[in-house]
C-alpha cells in the first residue's frame, strides 16, 4: 500500500511542479496547494500506514498509529493554509494593480 501512496504523492508533486511552471498566477497557487498535499501524504506514508487504531487511548487497544507524523502534518496543514490564503490575496492584488496575471509580464522596473 505504501508504494501506491508514494506513487500518488509523486504524481501530486509532479502536477504541482507543472502548475508552478505556468504563467498564470492562479495556476501557480494551485501548484503550491498540490505540492503541500503531496508533502503531507508523503509524511504520513513515511510513518507507516495502517498500523493500528487512531492514536486516542482506548482501554484494551495496544496497537496505535504513529501520532508524531500526524501532529507534524497538522501543523503543516495550518501553515500551508495561511500561506495559500496570503498568496491568493497577493495574486488578487497583483492583478488589480498590474492588470495582468501573466508572470512573464510582471518584470518590475529595469534598474531594480
Amino acid at each position: 500500500m505504501e508504494i501506491i501512496m508514494i506513487v500518488l504523492a509523486a504524481i501530486l508533486f509532479a502536477t504541482g511542479v507543472y502548475n508552478i511552471l505556468q504563467k498564470q498566477l492562479l495556476r501557480i497557487v494551485i501548484g503550491t496547494v498540490l505540492i503541500s498535499h503531496g508533502a503531507h501524504l508523503f509524511i504520513l506514508t513515511m510513518g507507516k500506514l495502517k498500523r493500528g487504531a487512531p492514536p486516542v487511548e482506548v482501554y484494551g487497544v495496544t496497537e496505535y498509529a504513529d501520532p508524531l507524523p500526524q501532529a507534524l502534518i497538522l501543523t503543516s496543514i495550518v501553515i500551508s493554509f495561511g500561506v495559500t490564503s496570503f498568496l491568493l490575496v497577493l495574486a488578487y492584488r497583483a492583478y488589480k494593480l498590474n492588470q495582468t496575471d501573466n508572470m512573464e509580464k510582471m518584470r518590475g522596473s529595469e534598474h531594480e
Binding site: 501512496m5 502536477t15 501532529a71 488578487y92 518584470r107
Partner: protein, 777 residues
C-alpha cells in the same frame, strides 16, 4: 620601536584637529617633528657594532599573531630611509601645498602611510607584515587620488589599488602556506627552517605567490603599469611613496626572504629575468616620455628592476650592491622628484617639450638636478654615488655561476642586458636635465614666468643631493655603519666589502661603464633620428591597453553572464532551481548507492484506498489540463477531499477533520479570487516550454518516488511514538495523543504556527486595506 611605528598613527588621529588652525600656521609645521624624532631614534642604532633588537606585544595570542618588531640591519636601513625622507617630504610639502588644499586629509593619509611602511619593515610576524602591507596599498590609493576631482587621479588610484591588492592577496596566500609548512608565524624562525620550506611540496607555489606580491608592489614588468599613472599624485607623494619607500617594499620582501630562497636556482632565474627585463624595458620606455614625472616614474621602475636583479644574483657582491643602490636611489630619485615638482610649481607645466633654458631662471634647482641626473646616469665622477652602484652592478653581473644550458645562457646574457639598459638610463637622464634646463627658452609656451623657488622649498632636495655627494666622496662612511649590517641580514652571513672608486683600467666593469657613457652620448645626440622606433615598439603593444582591455572585459563579460540568466522570468528561475535539485539529488543517490527497492513491511492493499488514490491522481492531472478556471479550482478540491478520506482510512481523525475544513475554506477563497482573475486559457506557452515543463515535472515526481521508496526501506531506528502513546495520559493528562503532542509535548510548534496564521491574517488585511497613493485604483 612600537612607539616609533605607532606614533605617526596617533598623530594621524590628531591631524584633523590640528588642521583647523591652518589659517595661521601650515599644518605641516605642527607635525614635522614626528618623523624627525623617529629618524633620530633610529639613528642611535647606527654604528659599526650594531646589535639586533626585538620587541614584542601581544595581539591575537590564539592565532599566534603578535606585534613582534625586529630591528636588524635591513630594517634599520629602511626605517632610516622612511623616517628621513619622510621628514624631508613633509618639509617640502609645506611649501608645495598651499593652505587652501585639504591639508588635514593629506597629512592624515601620509602619516598612515608612514606608520604602515615602518610596520612593514620592522614586523617579524608575517601576518602583521601583511596587515601593514595592505595599509600601504590603501594609503597609497588615497594619496594618488588626493585631487579626487580629477578623472586621471581617480583612474591612477584605482589602477594602483587593483594591481597592488592583487599582489597583496597573492602575498597573503604565500605567507599562509609558509605558516602551514613551518608551523610558525615568525620570519626569523622561518629562515631557520629553510630546509623544510625548500623541500615542501608547496615550495613552487610559495615562491610564485611571494614573487607576485613583490613584483606588483615594486612595479616589476609586467605589473609596472600602475606606477606611471600614480604620478597624478601630488609631487611630495611621488617623491616619497613612488620613488623612495613604498615601491621598495617588494624589494624589502625579497631581501627579507632571500636567505630562504638564495640557493634555489628558480629564484635566481625568475628574479634576474624579471629584474633585467624591467630594467631594460622601463629605461627604454622612459626615453619616450614627455612628462617630467613620467620619465622619473619609468626611471624608478628601471632602477627597481636593477635592484631586484642584483638580489636575484644572490652573490655577496650582488646583495651588497643591491643594498647600496637602495640607499643611493632613494637619495637621488627623491631629490629629482622634488626638483621636478619645483619646476612644475614655478613654471606651471611638467611637459618637457615646453620647458627649456631654465638654467638662468632657476640656477639652484638646475644645480641640484645636475647631481641627481648625473648620479642616476652613473657618470663616472668621484662625487656621485650612482656611479658606484652602477659599477658594482656591472661587477656583480659578471662572473655568476650556475649549471644547465638555460642558466648558462642567462648568465652570458645578463651583462649585455645590463649594459643596454644602462645606456638608455644614460640617455633619459641626459634628456631630463638638458631638456629642462638647457636649450632654447620657450617663453610663449610657459603658463607663468619662471623664477627660483622659495629657499625653504629647495632645502629638502638640497639635503638629498648633499647625501649624494657625501656618499660619493666618502662611500665607506656608510659602509661599515649601515650597509654591511643590512647586507649581512639579507645574505644571512657576514659580508664585508669596501667601495672602491678606481677599479683599474683593465676592470671589465669600468670598461662597461665607459661603453655606456660613450654609446649613451652618441645615442643622445642622435635621438631625433632613431626615436621613430617607438612607433614600432611598443607601438600598439602597450601594456596599458592590455590592462584596460582586461578591466573592460571583466565588467562586460560578467554583465553578460548575469543578464543571460537573470532575465526576470520566474519560470526560468524555477526551472533552474528544480533542475539543480533533480540533478544533485539524483546524482547523490546514484553516487552513494542510496537507492533501496526492497518491498518489506508494507501494509496490505485494499480496493477502496486504491480507488481514492486513482481519483486523486486523475484530479491532480486534471488541474494541469483544465482550461476553465472554475473547473481547475473544483478538481483541486477533489484532491483535497480525497486526501481527507485517506486520512480517515489511515487512522488520523484529527487530520481528516482539519483537512476537510481547510480544504473547504481554501476552495471558497479560490472561488472568491477567481471572480477577479482572468480565465486560464487566455494565454498559452510555446511547445518547447511546455515540453521542458513536462520533462522537469516528471523528473521531479520520479525523484520523489525514488526517494520515498528508498527512504521507506532504509530505516535506521524505531520510532519514538511508543513513548508518546505511553505517556500521553501520565504526563500530559489527555487521551488524544496527537492533541497532547501539539499542545504539551511540542507546544512551541503550535505557538509559532498560530503566529504564522496571525501574520498571514495581518498581511492579508494590510494588502487589502492599505494602499499607497501611487498604486490606488
Amino acid at each position: 620601536m612600537v612607539y616609533a611605528v605607532f606614533a605617526p598613527l596617533i598623530f594621524a588621529i590628531l591631524i584633523p584637529f590640528l588642521s583647523r588652525i591652518k589659517q595661521r600656521i601650515h599644518t605641516g609645521w605642527l607635525i614635522l617633528p614626528v618623523p624627525l624624532l623617529i629618524f633620530i631614534y633610529f639613528l642611535q642604532f647606527v654604528g659599526a657594532n650594531f646589535e639586533t633588537k626585538m620587541q614584542s606585544t601581544t595581539w591575537i595570542p590564539t592565532l599566534n599573531i603578535s606585534l613582534d618588531f625586529y630591528l636588524d640591519g635591513l630594517s634599520l636601513l629602511f626605517a632610516l630611509l622612511i623616517s628621513g625622507i619622510g621628514t624631508l617630504v613633509v618639509l617640502y610639502s609645506i611649501y608645495y601645498l598651499n593652505k587652501e588644499e585639504q591639508l588635514g586629509h593629506f597629512y592624515t593619509y601620509l602619516y598612515i602611510f608612514m606608520a604602515s611602511m615602518l610596520g612593514v619593515v620592522l614586523s617579524d610576524n608575517v601576518f602583521v607584515l601583511y596587515t601593514f602591507w595592505e595599509f600601504t596599498s590603501l594609503s597609497s590609493f588615497l594619496l594618488i587620488g588626493y585631487w579626487h576631482h580629477r578623472e586621471k587621479s581617480r583612474y591612477g588610484a584605482l589602477k594602483s589599488m587593483l594591481i597592488t591588492v592583487l599582489g597583496g592577496f597573492s602575498l597573503l596566500g604565500g605567507l599562509i602556506l609558509l605558516t602551514i609548512e613551518t608551523g610558525t608565524t615568525s620570519i626569523r624562525e622561518m629562515v631557520a627552517m629553510t630546509d623544510v620550506i625548500i623541500n615542501s611540496e608547496y615550495f613552487i607555489a610559495i615562491l610564485i605567490f611571494l614573487l607576485l606580491g613583490a613584483f606588483t608592489k615594486s612595479a616589476q614588468f609586467p605589473f609596472h603599469i600602475w606606477l606611471p599613472d600614480a604620478m597624478e599624485a601630488p609631487t611630495p607623494v611621488s617623491a616619497y611613496l613612488h620613488s623612495a619607500t613604498m615601491v621598495k617594499a617588494g624589494i624589502y620582501l625579497m631581501a627579507r626572504f632571500s636567505p630562504i630562497f638564495n640557493e634555489v636556482p628558480l629564484f635566481f632565474i625568475l628574479l634576474s629575468i624579471f629584474g633585467l627585463v624591467t630594467l631594460a624595458w622601463a629605461s627604454y620606455m622612459a626615453v619616450r616620455q614627455t612628462d617630467l614625472k613620467g620619465i622619473l616614474a619609468f626611471s624608478t621602475i628601471s632602477q627597481l628592476g636593477m635592484i631586484m636583479a642584483m638580489l636575484g644574483f644572490g652573490t655577496t657582491y650582488g646583495v651588497f650592491a643591491a643594498v647600496f643602490h637602495i640607499l643611493n636611489h632613494a637619495t637621488f630619485k627623491g631629490s629629482l622628484f622634488m626638483v621636478a615638482g619645483i619646476v612644475d610649481h614655478e613654471t606651471g607645466t611638467r611637459d618637457i617639450r615646453r620647458l627649456g633654458g631654465l638654467m638662468t631662471f632657476m640656477p639652484i634647482s638646475a644645480t641640484l638636478a645636475v647631481f641627481g641626473t648625473f648620479s642616476m646616469a652613473g657618470v663616472p665622477l668621484p662625487f656621485l654615488n650612482g656611479f658606484y652602484s652602477k659599477e658594482m652592478f656591472f661587477q656583480s653581473s659578471l662572473g655568476l655561476e650556475g649549471s644547465g644550458t638555460f642558466v648558462e645562457g642567462l648568465i652570458t646574457a645578463i651583462p649585455i642586458i645590463a649594459v643596454v639598459g644602462s645606456i638608455f638610463t644614460f640617455i633619459y637622464s641626459m634628456y631630463l636635465f638638458f631638456g629642462t634646463f638647457r636649450g632654447g627658452y620657450k617663453e610663449d609656451q610657459l603658463p607663468t614666468k619662471p623664477h627660483e623657488a622659495p629657499i625653504m622649498m629647495l632645502v629638502p632636495p638640497a639635503i638629498l643631493v648633499l647625501g649624494v655627494i657625501v656618499i660619493g666622496l666618502f662611500p665607506n662612511i656608510f659602509n661599515n655603519a649601515l650597509i654591511t649590517h643590512s647586507a649581512d641580514a639579507i645574505y644571512g652571513d657576514t659580508v664585508t666589502k669596501d667601495i672602491k672608486y678606481w677599479h683599474g683600467l683593465d676592470s671589465r666593469a669600468f670598461q662597461m661603464s665607459l661603453a655606456v657613457v660613450v654609446l649613451g652620448v652618441v645615442l643622445y645626440l642622435t635621438k631625433d633620428k632613431w626615436s621613430k622606433i617607438y612607433s614600432v615598439l611598443p607601438g600598439s603593444l602597450s601594456l596599458n591597453r592590455v590592462y584596460d582591455w582586461i578591466v573592460e572585459k571583466i565588467e562586460s563579460v560578467s554583465n553578460k553572464i548575469t543578464t543571460s540568466y537573470m532575465t526576470g522570468s520566474l519560470r526560468l528561475y524555477m526551472m533552474l532551481i528544480l533542475t539543480a535539485i533533480i540533478l544533485m539529488t539524483a546524482g547523490t543517490l546514484l553516487y552513494s548507492g542510496g537507492m533501496n527497492f526492497n518491498t518489506v513491511d508494507l501494509a496490505p492493499i485494499t480496493a477502496q484506498e486504491v480507488i481514492v488514490a486513482i481519483v486523486m491522481a486523475i484530479a491532480a492531472i486534471g488541474t494541469t489540463v483544465a482550461r476553465n478556471r472554475i473547473a481547475a479550482i473544483l478538481i483541486l478540491g477533489v484532491v483535497g477531499y480525497g486526501l481527507a478520506i485517506l486520512f480517515v482510512m489511515y487512522s488520523a481523525p484529527d487530520l481528516a477533520l482539519t483537512q476537510l475544513i481547510v480544504e473547504t475554506v481554501t476552495v471558497v477563497l479560490f472561488l472568491l479570487c477567481f471572480y477577479h482573475l482572468p480565465n486560464l486559457s487566455s494565454e498559452g506557452q510555446s511547445v518547447a516550454k511546455t515540453g521542458s515543463n513536462i520533462l522537469v515535472s516528471i523528473g521531479y515526481g520520479l525523484l520523489m518516488f525514488v526517494i520515498g521508496i528508498s527512504a521507506y526501506n532504509s530505516r535506521f531506528a524505531e520510532t519514538i511514538s511508543s513513548y508518546f502513546m505511553e505517556n500521553t495520559y501520565e504526563e500530559g493528562g489527555g487521551h488524544n495523543a496527537v492533541n497532547v503532542i501539539l499542545v504539551d509535548f511540542r507546544g512551541i510548534d503550535t505557538l509559532f504556527e498560530v503566529a504564522v496564521l496571525f501574520g498571514a491574517a495581518l498581511g492579508i488585511y494590510a494588502m487589502i486595506k492599505l494602499r499607497s497613493n501611487k498604486g490606488a485604483k
